[in-house]
Symmetry: C2
Subunit: 237 residues, 2 copies
């Protein structure tokens, strides 16, 4: 008899290990994406764009991990044919991994904009709000990874609220930039770079919320996409 069978929470101890491995790979991927955003914000803060090459290098690692995790999830589905909770875990994981990869892409976009802005010596005035927005988004990403690691619906809902703050901050940055462009039309192209960067940061927030929704789906078995925040809170209380 195969001693791999009927041990622990699952039929197979091996299966438990495989699921654990996927979870820890996702968190590793999350850590890399966080590092991409960190290095981008460092460049913006210090005015030194040399760290941006690292952001690109990290992106290749992130992409590789995404495909690897996806492949592992597919294999588990084919080999283990998981039911209920495990199945939800795997579906939520492949989705979250896609969002993480997109976050990495957006971080890289921001990094390129930052390099472009720094190389062209744009007036710091035009990007003062960008750093504040970036810090908020960085915190949201960090909290989102914690939410995923601990599979907590309560913190998932908290993060959704935080994303609304990010959206408000983004709107402020935008208004400020429009004013700047009106008074200084010669620097429109530079201001637009800052605007795209702000937009990418705002998108990172959206991807974080997707991951939080996946956690809620995983834990509660409840699909909360396209559901208003107030209703989600009510459902989970």
């Amino acid at each position: 008899m195969n001693d791999d069978i009927l041990v622990g929470g699952h039929i197979s101890r091996q299966f438990d290990q495989e699921l654990d491995e996927i979870r820890s790979r996702v968190l590793k991927m999350g850590g890399l994406v966080e590092a991409q955003l960190d290095k981008t914000l460092d460049a913006l803060r210090s005015g030194d764009s040399s760290g941006i090459t690292d952001v690109e290098k990290l992106d290749r690692k992130v992409n590789k991990l995404e495909m690897q995790i996806d492949e592992e999830c597919t294999q588990i589905l084919a080999k283990r044919q998981p039911a209920a909770g495990d199945l939800r875990m795997i579906i939520a994981t492949t989705k979250s991994v896609r969002d993480l990869e997109r976050i990495g892409d957006e971080a890289e976009r921001v990094a390129h904009m930052v390099r472009h802005v720094l190389d062209n010596g744009a007036a710091p005035k035009s990007y003062s709000g960008l750093l504040a927005l970036g810090e908020e988004v960085k915190e949201l990403l960090h909290d989102t990874l914690n939410t995923y690691a601990r599979m907590e619906t309560r913190s998932a809902v908290k993060n959704m609220r935080k994303d609304q703050d990010v959206d408000d901050e983004y709107a402020r940055v935008l208004m400020h930039l429009i004013e700047f462009m009106k008074t200084d039309p010669d620097h429109i192209a530079g201001a637009l770079d800052v605007m795209w960067a702000a937009r990418s940061l705002e998108r990172i927030g959206d991807h974080c919320i997707n991951i939080c929704e996946n956690v809620i789906y995983l834990v509660e078995g409840e699909d909360v996409r396209h559901t208003k925040l107030s209703r989600i809170k009510k459902q989970l209380s």
Copy 2:
């Protein structure tokens, strides 16, 4: 004995029907998303924003279908435990459905921008290029849905090339808008609306390419994300 078993290509005729149903639902969803983009471009062409309410109504239908298809895919995974090709079909479907839903979101964004631009009576000069870009994207979306319906890798690769044309057109629109803003700083806000709309159209192209990549993955069992187009063509030739 259950007559549902050992009939047709699959163990179960019922299973074949379920897969067919999912495929046709995806195409139905694709049709709705196409209608969203069509109605948006109609409004832009005619200068009449009354059809934009339909775009919003369609979006609710699209969102509903996304969740429904996702739920059906999950149930099939749990109940049928499909192997190899069918499994890839289901994974590719849940991913494509997500891209379709995003395309719908972007189309709605464009629609709102168009309404905003029309309501504010912005100079048509600033959005002349937008319609051309929209037409190209519309064609790409149509071709992408055909690619999905027929599961053709050859046309998938062709669409990827088309997306490069979309990107070039987008770059032209952008340059034109920057010039416009420089010479007419009073209309910066309006020109930015057009810019966001152009960005959303370009994103629709990206989502189409994701769907094409999913088709290649499905047919060839080959993960072509993060792979250069020239290499994909080589792999498939």
